[in-house]
């Protein structure tokens, strides 16, 4: 179970894991020791609670690392000043997209070769690229709106 616990810790942001990871593991081990002699149901409940807590905690931690400590980030537009969309993400997303498109194209050509049909590239890769571009534009637009609100100082209204 310790291995699973440590694996789930990798869901957290690196900074959080470095700061709290060893301490959380030590506390988990103490709590696990306490559950050693208990019934199977009690232990299953304990492990379920711990796993669920880690998954939820990791999601909240990522959320906070982007939007800060505020509990109502979207309608208060409290994007952190230090948050910047990493440039490397754009490059990595393009590489991943290219790899996926290439794999799909290869697979469909292989399938078509078996059935003796010729598949043009536009039928396989184009919809995927279009979807990617649309999703990317929508995300960029949402980010731009939040950034614009941040620049206007509207996020300070929740402190009034």
């Amino acid at each position: 179970m310790l291995r699973l616990y440590r694996s789930l810790l990798f869901l957290y942001p690196v900074a959080y894991r470095d700061e709290f990871g060893p301490e959380m593991t030590a506390v988990f081990l103490q709590a696990e020791e306490e559950h050693d002699g208990r019934s199977l149901a009690a232990r299953a409940l304990f492990y379920g609670r711990e796993s669920g807590g880690l998954i939820l905690g990791a999601a909240q931690s990522h959320f906070r690392s982007v939007f800060g400590n505020n509990l109502t980030p979207f309608w208060r537009f409290s994007m952190q000043r230090q948050f910047r969309f990493p440039r490397s993400t754009v490059f990595l997303m393009c590489v991943i997209l290219a790899a996926v498109a290439f794999a799909i194209d290869k697979a469909q050509r292989a399938q078509a070769a078996i059935s003796g049909r010729v598949v043009p590239t536009s039928e396989t890769v184009t919809p995927l690229i279009l979807t990617f571009v649309i999703v990317y534009l929508v995300a960029a637009l949402a980010w731009g709106i939040l950034y614009a609100f941040r620049q206007t100082g509207m996020h300070r209204l929740d402190k009034v």
């Binding site: 959380m24 593991t25 030590a26 506390v27 669920g52 939820l56 400590n69 505020n70």
Partner: protein, 107 residues
């Protein structure tokens, strides 16, 4: 005061630290005892709450004298104590109003 009103786990963590500084496992046990076994925090929930409280300056961390285990202790800051008292006062007011309303209805 961005954390107010407090969630139950956060309130219980603060109440646990109000009595004395504690390390993570001690907080878990104390919260369970305080709530009569009703609230059992997972380590993920506990450290999520501790991270937020540290970020807001309500609690502070210090190295435990016991170095045999990988643990640090936490204590309330003056700001944390002030905010906890404000929250308790808010709850006291709420329960007073609730009791009066219920009593009036029964009468």
């Amino acid at each position: 005061m961005e954390l107010l009103p407090l969630t139950e786990p956060v309130l219980l963590v603060l109440l646990s630290l109000a009595e004395q500084p504690r390390h993570g496992y001690s907080i878990l046990k104390d919260v369970e005892q305080m709530s009569g076994g009703r609230v059992r925090l997972s380590t993920g929930t506990l450290y999520g709450a501790l991270q937020r409280l540290l970020g807001q300056g309500w609690i502070e961390r210090f190295d435990d004298e016991d170095t045999s285990r990988d643990r640090r202790s936490y204590r309330l800051t003056a700001k944390g104590r002030r905010n906890l008292q404000a929250e308790i006062e808010r709850m006291r007011h709420l329960t007073r109003v609730a009791a009066l309303r219920v009593a009036r209805k029964e009468a």
